[in-house]
Symmetry: C2
Subunit: 328 residues, 2 copies
């Protein structure tokens, strides 16, 4: 299916008000919205007198492709990358705003389906979280900038600078699957979806384990962050912020690589590179006091005193590598 | 000056971390930020347990032109369009997030200057408001999506639905100047700035009267909204939301047109069209109980019972017209 084939009017054929009237009813409502979309601004409850806020942008041709993604998958991905950042602070997601820049010849049905994806993402991992406002602008390039809000419920925010020597490193889910899905799409195009649906669909519309249980499981964490760029890159950032070295366990990395190879058909060598250097799985990287890793997490190594390398694997330093938006 | 002539490295020549390290120090800090940029998300104080939030996007080639604007002017404009929406709710702006999508061959100096514009805007109209987070993505089209936050300090938000029959209509500043500046740029290109600097600079980098005094002056308003698309269009929206007709005074509109003609050289006929149909002055349209228009506002007419037309001028219905992002 191509975007141009979607039935119904184009953005250029309706007024901004008519466009919004079609999209608003499909968007999830936020339990904490005192005033939703439709005025100059929204008003949202901040129960403990603070709010967590993060923003993440997706650009067509760079962060996603209309040749690969269905419109609702783009909505899911845009929501998840932001919701994961909120959860990685130890907060419950409460609301989103969505700034969309789209070509004037975009079918309104495309935006309706994108709204459906935002709704599906919220209902799956952040029930009660909804869209409280947004903006639509005309642009030659399709850009989706989501800003997400969260409630800490009186807790301190979980920082990437809190890792302590002796902590266990753990991760909330499998790594490398999204990177493997991207690699398959780059090599084989859209038909990769048929051959390796698990990896490709996870790349296009991930559903990471960042639901209400995850916020509870992070209650005792010393540090946490969303792995959006790659394990090696994001672990190196945690290492730098905390002044430690992150010593990763080769056994767990190999087991993850095995799982990635199975769902993607990639070689073990490539699969291990995906685990270490692939992005966009949106698992939570966290550290816990020795013995304190909660059930939903996979132990991945140990925080040690800062050494020559920010990140080691089986005791050897590894070079952080992963997603860089401005590379070449 | 062309963007490509700016000295120093391009976005593609630095890592995301190196880029952010150059930009962050130039951004204004938010007094209410408990945790600023650098982690997965920021944490901001919401003093009365609520926050106001709005988002507005600017796209190169549609909402601004690199042939006309200096980078810091783009920053000013992006900030003001959002700050005005917060103030129009009766709230004090507290924080911004900025999602930027830019071509990889953009000089980092361009973003530094854009950050300077964000800082200048905040320091002029919203001291204490700062940037608490952001994102930089690669894009063929330059897109700036700002999300702004505000504090109501215990007051009820000012809605566009609150206009009451018998209210006086008033506006916080001159209208039509930005539209006139845009018209001059479209007709004469960048040299319009030299001939009519007041109109052109106001269009490129407006400094509307939305400072702390304005929030105080709005305390007794029945309704308010930011005039971003045009007086006729935004007044028609207030009329629809409030179930009233907005009866505008021809004397005031003519006086404004006279002022617009003087700073732009446009004919009185064109200038009056700019007052009614020009956008982006970011004055606040508000209604007050009879006799209650505060000193800083210009009385502009009267709210009357809903009639055939949403907006009238000298008793005659006028067709709302103004900015539509998807027109043509």
């Amino acid at each position: 299916m191509s975007v141009a084939d979607l039935p119904g009017p184009l953005l250029s054929e309706l007024s901004e008000g008519e466009i919004l009237a079609r999209i608003f009813p499909r968007l999830p409502q936020a339990d904490l919205a005192l005033l939703g979309p439709g005025d100059d601004a929204a008003v949202v409850t901040a129960p403990d007198g603070r709010f967590v806020v993060t923003t993440d942008t997706m650009v067509e041709g760079k962060d996603f492709s209309l040749d690969w993604s269905l419109p609702d998958e783009i909505g899911v991905k845009a929501a998840m990358s932001n919701l994961a950042d909120v959860v990685a602070m130890g907060a419950r997601p409460t609301a989103l705003t969505v700034a969309l820049a789209a070509p004037t010849d975009t079918p309104v049905a495309f935006l309706e389906m994108l709204a459906d994806g935002l709704r599906d993402a919220c209902s799956q991992v952040a029930p009660g979280c909804g869209v409280v406002g947004g903006d639509i602008a005309a642009s030659d390039t399709l850009v989706i900038a989501v800003t997400a809000f969260g409630d800490l419920a009186g807790r301190e925010p979980l920082l990437r600078s809190g890792a302590q020597v002796g902590d266990e490193i753990a991760v909330s889910g499998l790594l490398g699957v999204s990177g493997a899905g991207l690699t398959l799409l780059q090599r084989h195009g859209p038909q990769a979806r048929e051959n390796f649906p698990d990896a490709v669909c996870w790349h296009l519309a991930p559903y990471p384990a960042i639901g209400p249980d995850m916020v509870a499981e992070l209650a005792e964490a010393h540090s946490a962050m969303d792995i959006s760029d790659s394990l090696s890159l994001d672990a190196s950032r945690m290492a730098a912020a905390s002044g430690v070295t992150m010593a990763l366990d080769i056994t767990v990395v190999s087991a993850m690589a095995d799982a990635v190879a199975r769902v993607s058909g990639l070689s073990m060598n490539e699969a291990q590179r995906m685990v270490l250097e692939g992005g966009e799985d949106h698992a939570i990287l966290a550290t816990f006091a020795d013995g304190g890793v909660p059930e939903g997490f996979i132990p991945l190594g140990r925080v040690v005193a800062a050494g020559t390398h920010a990140v080691t694997l089986a005791g050897e330093g590894i070079a952080p590598a992963g997603w860089n938006p401005f590379a070449g």
